[in-house]
Symmetry: D2
Amino acid sequence: MNSKMRVAILGATGTVGQKFITLLTDHPYFEVAELVASERSAGKRYVDACAWKQNTPIPGYIADMQVKSLEDTLDSPVLFSGLDSSVAGAAEERYARLGHVVISNSKNHRMEEDVPLVIPEINPDHLSLIAGQKWDGAIITNSNCSTMFLAMALAPLHETFGVEAVQVTTMQAISGAGYPGVASYDILGNIIPYIGGEEEKMEIESQKILGTLADGKVVDADFVVSAQCNRVPVVDGHTETVSFSLKKKASLEELRSVMAGFRGLPQELKLPSAPDHPILMMDDADRPQPSRDVWLEKGMATVVGRLRPCNVLDYRMVIMGHNTVRGAAGAAVLNAETMFRLGLFGDNPAEDYNTEELKRRAYALSTDGMRDVVCSK
Amino acid sequence: MNSKMRVAILGATGTVGQKFITLLTDHPYFEVAELVASERSAGKRYVDACAWKQNTPIPGYIADMQVKSLEDTLDSPVLFSGLDSSVAGAAEERYARLGHVVISNSKNHRMEEDVPLVIPEINPDHLSLIAGQKWDGAIITNSNCSTMFLAMALAPLHETFGVEAVQVTTMQAISGAGYPGVASYDILGNIIPYIGGEEEKMEIESQKILGTLADGKVVDADFVVSAQCNRVPVVDGHTETVSFSLKKKASLEELRSVMAGFRGLPQELKLPSAPDHPILMMDDADRPQPSRDVWLEKGMATVVGRLRPCNVLDYRMVIMGHNTVRGAAGAAVLNAETMFRLGLFGDNPAEDYNTEELKRRAYALSTDGMRDVVCSK
Amino acid sequence: MNSKMRVAILGATGTVGQKFITLLTDHPYFEVAELVASERSAGKRYVDACAWKQNTPIPGYIADMQVKSLEDTLDSPVLFSGLDSSVAGAAEERYARLGHVVISNSKNHRMEEDVPLVIPEINPDHLSLIAGQKWDGAIITNSNCSTMFLAMALAPLHETFGVEAVQVTTMQAISGAGYPGVASYDILGNIIPYIGGEEEKMEIESQKILGTLADGKVVDADFVVSAQCNRVPVVDGHTETVSFSLKKKASLEELRSVMAGFRGLPQELKLPSAPDHPILMMDDADRPQPSRDVWLEKGMATVVGRLRPCNVLDYRMVIMGHNTVRGAAGAAVLNAETMFRLGLFGDNPAEDYNTEELKRRAYALSTDGMRDVVCSK
Amino acid sequence: MNSKMRVAILGATGTVGQKFITLLTDHPYFEVAELVASERSAGKRYVDACAWKQNTPIPGYIADMQVKSLEDTLDSPVLFSGLDSSVAGAAEERYARLGHVVISNSKNHRMEEDVPLVIPEINPDHLSLIAGQKWDGAIITNSNCSTMFLAMALAPLHETFGVEAVQVTTMQAISGAGYPGVASYDILGNIIPYIGGEEEKMEIESQKILGTLADGKVVDADFVVSAQCNRVPVVDGHTETVSFSLKKKASLEELRSVMAGFRGLPQELKLPSAPDHPILMMDDADRPQPSRDVWLEKGMATVVGRLRPCNVLDYRMVIMGHNTVRGAAGAAVLNAETMFRLGLFGDNPAEDYNTEELKRRAYALSTDGMRDVVCSK
């Protein structure tokens, strides 16, 4: 008996879609059953439709799969979306209306009031928002890649000491721009001190993720963020310098301690994609570095170094993580794993997923709390 | 009759030394008469002693010049020093004691009380400090490369509105580390979030440069700076993201106006190496960029873009400049040109330079003001 | 009285078009009077239509010029074409039919029997082919960028010793692919061992360029070329390793001598864009290098190093040159300068250009020889 | 009972040494028992002595190990040497004299008459040379990194059709130069068309490896090689364009077939580090590429693409492989595994290694053939 849940990948030929395939191959909960892409690719074998850019070959079971179009009916209950934002808005909504659970990496729905923007180590309770979504199915989103590492690094600080203000400058890898993305003529030996929309995303998404649920709504965290985003000639791994002030006084040692000790629901549930240490502290003066540290914890860690006092705000630090793993496809997969183990897909997800149960259990999350609903799978 | 002043280059085979040669060839005030390097190079022809790394060939008159050692007696009154900091301290002091004027790019003496740390657009009056130096000759320094662009961008803001606090993150080119400098294995496709001593330099040097003279001493500017320095895979051009708060309220338009209108003594005197616009404002959202803009104003500009409000401090911006030209050798040359035209080397520098006159005129700078002493050359 | 000839630039917003603008600004013979681009840009001011990628600002007289479309009538007699090959074929032909002289960098017409493929140091006599062209005007082409440096390096060897066989491996800069060209994700820290159509171009174009005119036709040179073309993460400058065998025995010293001494018509006529040394020999074991040597002779040289015996063929060497200057726009400009000074545009090109005279003089080239027709301008 | 053989790593803090540690951790035959480095590191804990540059952390059992000096007595029978060539010559010889088996990646002894230069897929029989070595122990070498991929690609061609002449141009990764190796200022966005000694190594080593044993001596293969070696801004992976002529006529299909089907002793013995396909053929026009394909077969493959006819010699192709794995440390490890399974270290290597048996069994290799002596471990 196959206990795996069938899933589809939307935008399967793009860079996020390819990463989904890589991460979901041999996954214990999910099995890739459908590949969906634009009209141009639809009807072709995946291997013919896709300019595969991963460092491992296309998995055999994927290569010959026929690509479906965004118009086709899908029979997988769960859809991982790596759709381009130009089409993600309408397409994801349509699928949600049809009863699918869309686990989306796209920006389109992130800031909607009833759409959870989830990092399961931080705010898995926000998943209960889907109980109130207007669709039969649901849309769940993960954050922008740069926001991910910032929110993760701030989470234990905010919980313990209260974050007040944050200055962040990013140095972002080119893989974050998709494919073909940044022209080599623009970035080889160069810095581009601008990424459209990125600064705004970092500034508002982190407030929502670290916000609290009250009466079924997210109350944004009340710190302010100022982000300055740069593209750098690095392939994988976003590096960020961060300065921050806290509401309560805290010693350097206390900061280190709460960051190093930070664990969340994914660690508790030992989810397949969960890093042992969501925050990995490094001591060397010149770390983290993308080319050395990006694959720590299989690309699922937020690596933090150089934590030290700041002359202007209270403290400063350098953070780094894998933008297409923890910062994109891996984040979505971890969201899906969390939902799976919280029982949102039912007690026997491979067989009895239904939208009423999904909504009922999502609602229960907000009333019964999370611990009671964890699925024993 | 040759009206040019004979100068020597200390550390002539290094990267800063090579840049001095390039900038001083066909210079209207100075002529390179002596090349000085370490014991290993001394006695050799320059072309044999030097791993020339510039994009233009070694000038013919330089190639065959015999390299002198740091032990040799020099007869040039002015010495441009690109010495490594491991030897610059003692060597520069010895030369100053012998009556030479050492125009130094090295860090060793910058923060000494009686040594001027000069950017002639900002604090040419600090040159009067040399009147009080304990040596017959003098040591004049320019700032660290990253400090240069920060101090320049802040100067008109500080003068007009008063700077209160500054957050800066740098993305520094590898040429700033000299040669061989950064190993390619460490930086190709990578970011190194640490440059030893750099953050401290930025934090204190900018306070001294923007400080005021009182009773023959520099009173540091009272703003605080927090710097986070990174090495990036760029050959030439340091990029910096800056956030700052001001003492007086100022509109974006006022800021733009004082920055774009900023001019100093080098512009007034039309010094050979002076940029027309010491601060060059760019409007495009994605500028400045090192590979596109580093040679604007012959590498002597501080290029500023993306000036806009900040959520945490008052405003933020991106600044960029050529680290080995305006940030190093070019800065020293401009210092020397300033001294030349201020008459510190005498009315007829090629012939009548003497140390007493140097001291007398330096003292006059602080009493009579700068305008009265400008040399008509 | 303005003695300059009015010229238009086709494909003015592209990378080759931009380089044409840079090279033709302040040109002694030509003045840019019209800018032509695709429908999308037509009607806009150049500064609005163009993503300017040069390191110098857009010249003032160009910025506000209104871009014309390929459908518009042009009144400049000479058109520099940097059109994309997808449109160059038909468009250039149409302009030639209308009486314009199209100086083209595009590949489309290069191998046509009556179209000269010219490097003026090597085969300026091939310009006489235009006498037989079926159009009122004419099309003149320069070679592919990689072919340029190979043909130039082989020219004196072929003339003196006869080239028999050539093996060449290229390492080509990304600027050769235009803009946006190569995706950064494909080339950052990578090598792409394939450039579509490039190997074939190198193999046949060099045979035509080094071919001889007989009865008004080009008889291809009879050597064989085997090319292997690679894209490398370099911005400007194609490097090529070459092995070759000769028909006559020649010593290393003889080779060096004929290469270093090579001069052609552009040098004789002291054309504005002509390098003093079309072939520049370097002695250092590790040269030429693109980042050091690409701007020698203002980007118009073919730099040759490491000339030494080969174990398989007779000799081997490394050659390098600026692919968008000597290898593209600069080559076209030098072709136009050659035609100008050969009098093909008339005795007073700014005023009395006409197509009959063009054809008559082109024919005269093949009968009277080149020396007799040089224009005294 | 521990059945693993104790081994030492010479030059343990260098880049090849670090790769040895990575490859030998959890190895089924060997266990790293001693780390040896220069005087400067000796006596320190490994973690303190070493600037670790691998992408995985230092293994725990290694971190605290005390580094020994080249003067210390070692008790491991097998020594993996990643020593710098400036010291490898004398040091390796001294250890061989003391009875150790030195598996060396250094160049110093490779071309000595009685030292096997082994690629176990090609010439494992050359191991019998050690029977005649003048030392109680033995020295076994692997090839230069660039030679490795060339020799591997040529091996099946030479065996079946006879190779006559080879032209090869390399584009070599910077990791091949060790650490700090190439200065970033020399290679960022640049090509260096020279690597000291590399061309000669490729030209002679491939002849020895593909040579045949006769009367206990290697008779070099009689083809000629002409190599042109370049350094490129790639971190890992050497790419080579190759043209070659064969003694027997062969169709493209025959070539493909013998290359794709090539297997050797390591595959037959299923050695732990053996790639399934020592030669991996790729069909895509633009492959192999270092950043995509370098980790195929865990970095132990020679990846071959673009096999096609050549205009000058018979055929051409592109080959690529991981220079510090298959091209260096991995090659040495595979040599040691081959010796282990051929029984050269005895029937029970962890316990009964002795130098007489080593010599006896090496001699047997040349008389009894390899198949008879394979150890059943």
